[in-house]
């Protein structure tokens, strides 16, 4: 069964290098690397465990939110409730170390980095292929959640959100935040050959980044300016706004630039392996 699924996916993914063949050698190598990264996710049991774990947690969350909303009148939609619950954030922070820990650490550990880097590929191609491979898996992880809203609509004949923009906002936020946290995970993985250490580093870093925005709830004596500044970093506040459909460019700039910074650091750390050896 698992073999069947991965075969189908890998067949789809295998087409990647073919479409890219006219875009020059550089892109072809990148897509070759990317397709190998994506396939390797679906060859490993961890991918399916993460998928199942994530579906269970988000499914239970969805169910709880609706049964909670059934008890009394509330001022938010099902979709807002789903994307702003504790359950959701808990599962959210946990998946990044699981997705990213093996990226570089496994190659260092198994020594497969040697045949990889002695092939005529550039360091940035490898770093970007690993990042986008992880991003692809992350997006696959989220696709089933769209079904929840479709099922909700089919059963209740009511929309789960006020507008399409609310869906777009929420998923845009997931994508942006996901890119940033995945790049943090990439960086953690390039630092060590031990996957567990990579997972712990990225878990700590992501948790700290995530709760940075909550400091203003804990420290009461901060000035309003500081509070506002911290608010910009608060994924929870941003998600609150975006899942209502208020699409703001500030988090986009923040997360895209932070992703670029983390990927640059990853690239530098990856290159430094040569000098540390």
């Amino acid at each position: 069964m698992l073999d069947g699924i991965s075969e189908v996916i890998s067949k789809v993914v295998c087409k990647f290098p073919r479409c890219a063949r006219d875009d020059g050698k550089v892109m072809r190598k990148f897509f070759t690397l990317l397709s190998r990264e994506i396939r390797s996710y679906f060859y490993s049991p961890i991918a399916y465990i993460v998928l199942v774990f994530f579906l269970v947690v988000s499914g239970v969350d969805f169910y709880f939110q609706i049964s909670f909303m059934n008890q009394r009148p509330v001022s938010y939609t099902v979709q807002e409730a789903f994307f702003n619950s504790i359950f959701f954030w808990f599962a959210f922070v946990l998946i990044f170390p699981l997705i990213t820990m093996r990226l570089f650490a496994e190659e260092f550990k198994l020594g497969t980095i040697e045949p990889l880097m002695t092939a005529p590929v550039r360091d940035w191609q490898v770093v970007l292929a690993k990042f986008f491979g992880a991003l692809f898996f992350y997006i696959v992880l989220w696709i089933p959640t769209t079904l929840y809203f479709a099922i909700f609509q089919a059963i209740t004949h009511q929309s789960a959100a006020n507008s399409t923009g609310a869906y777009l906002g929420a998923y845009l936020m997931l994508l942006l935040l996901g890119m940033f946290y995945l790049s943090v995970g990439c960086f953690a993985s390039v630092l060590t050959k031990n996957q567990i250490i990579a997972a712990i580093i990225s878990f700590c870093a992501i948790t700290l980044l995530f709760f940075l925005g909550l400091i203003s709830f804990i420290l009461l004596e901060v000035s309003s300016n500081t509070r506002q500044l911290l608010g910009y970093f608060s994924a929870i506040e941003q998600m609150g706004a975006l899942s209502r459909g208020e699409i703001d460019t500030r988090p986009m700039v923040l997360y895209l630039s932070m992703t670029a910074v983390m990927l640059t650091l990853t690239y530098q750390a990856f290159q430094s392996r040569k000098w540390r050896m």
């Binding site: 290098p17 073919r18 063949r21 050698k25 072809r28 190598k29 070759t32 690397l33 397709s35 190998r36 396939r39 390797s40 060859y43 490993s44 198994l110 020594g111 497969t112 040697e114 045949p115 880097m117 002695t118 092939a119 005529p120 590929v121 550039r122 040569k274 000098w275 050896m277």
Partner: protein, 326 residues
């Protein structure tokens, strides 16, 4: 020896590997120091040395996997530092222990590697088919790499190194961990590859080198101790060809009499019960066995063994890398 090398160079169309003053220091220790050597097109160069001598380090530098601390090297005419990508494109490298992605199938892995190495798209399946044929991988092409035996894994590594038809192959211990039959197969394969490719090969199996390599570098403690053809190396060493005689002479001056035979340089004697064992060291060209036989027959010695012992590359290796223990 110098003239020999000059003649050698004239035959070479191009230097496939050129190494100048190559040095690599790790924290606190020098792995290789001031290496200088060249490998010409079409040569099969054996790269020998004890464990930790710097063979893998040198090969990794040549494959652009790690930079040297100082010095220069070029592969197929491309500087490994300035034109690393082109150098890598002209090089087929098989690392020590041959790490592979265990989760992929053989054909799938080779397809992936071919694309990565820039084999044109329409030629990928042809090349992958060719290397599978050449390395005897047809029967296992659909297997997952994790399920392959060591011998097949090694062949996958070799097939990978050959995919993009590189001018130069660098093979780091390609026969490690193989059984004698597999070693023989890989040796045959390398010998055949040597017809079209330049090969730099490291190994601990010295008969393999004697049989396959046109030249040999012996490296010890990060320095090149010898670089020559196997024949020349064999002629140089102290333990050149020798003759073994086991006989009952009934006297103690057997060694003196043997030493008088023309061509014999030195005789040492040991005892095995009532038998005396003479080890004669002779000039490399001279065959002194008939003279030894005549002497023994004149003196009425009882002979139970008379044999010639040829020096092997192993003797050369041991002498160069452990000179004190000789």
């Amino acid at each position: 020896m110098a003239t020999h090398r000059a003649a050698d160079c004239q035959k070479l169309l191009r230097q496939m590997i050129k190494v100048e003053n190559l040095t690599k220091r790790y924290a606190g220790q020098t792995a290789i120091q001031d290496l200088n050597f060249e490998v010409g097109k079409g040569e099969i160069m054996g790269f020998l040395g004890p464990n930790g001598a710097g063979k893998t380090t040198t090969m990794r530098i040549l494959a652009s996997f790690m930079p040297p601390t100082s010095g220069r090297a070029s592969v197929a005419g491309f500087d490994i530092f300035e034109h690393s990508l082109q150098a890598r494109a002209h090089l087929g490298y098989m690392p020590e222990n041959n790490p592979l992605y265990n989760d992929m199938r053989v054909t799938e892995y080779l397809d992936y590697r071919a694309a990565l190495k820039g084999v044109p798209h329409r030629r990928v399946s042809e090349r992958v088919g060719d290397v599978k044929e050449l390395c005897g991988l047809k029967d296992v092409e659909k297997k997952i790499i994790a399920a392959l035996s060591k011998g097949f894994r090694q062949r996958v590594g070799l097939a990978d190194a050959l995919l993009h038809e590189p001018d130069l192959l660098i093979l780091d211990e390609p026969t490690i961990g193989l059984d004698p039959n597999q070693i023989r197969q890989v040796r045959e394969l390398i010998k055949n590859l040597g017809k079209q490719h330049t090969i730099l090969l490291s190994t601990h199996i010295l008969p393999e080198v004697e049989m396959t390599c046109s030249r040999v570098i012996i490296i010890h403690k990060g320095r090149i101790e010898a670089c020559d053809t196997p024949e020349n190396l064999l002629n140089q060493i102290r333990t050149a060809s020798g003759v073994l005689l086991e006989a009952k002479t009934g006297s103690d001056n057997g060694a003196e009499e043997l030493k008088r035979i023309p061509g014999v340089k030195d005789v040492s004697v040991s005892r095995d019960g009532e038998w005396q064992v003479f080890s004669l060291r002779a000039d490399a060209e001279a065959d002194v066995r008939p003279e030894v036989f005549h002497l023994a027959s004149d003196r009425h010695w009882t002979v139970r063994e008379l044999s010639q012992r040829r020096a092997t590359l192993e003797d050369v290796f041991v002498e160069i890398t452990h000179p004190d223990e000789m």
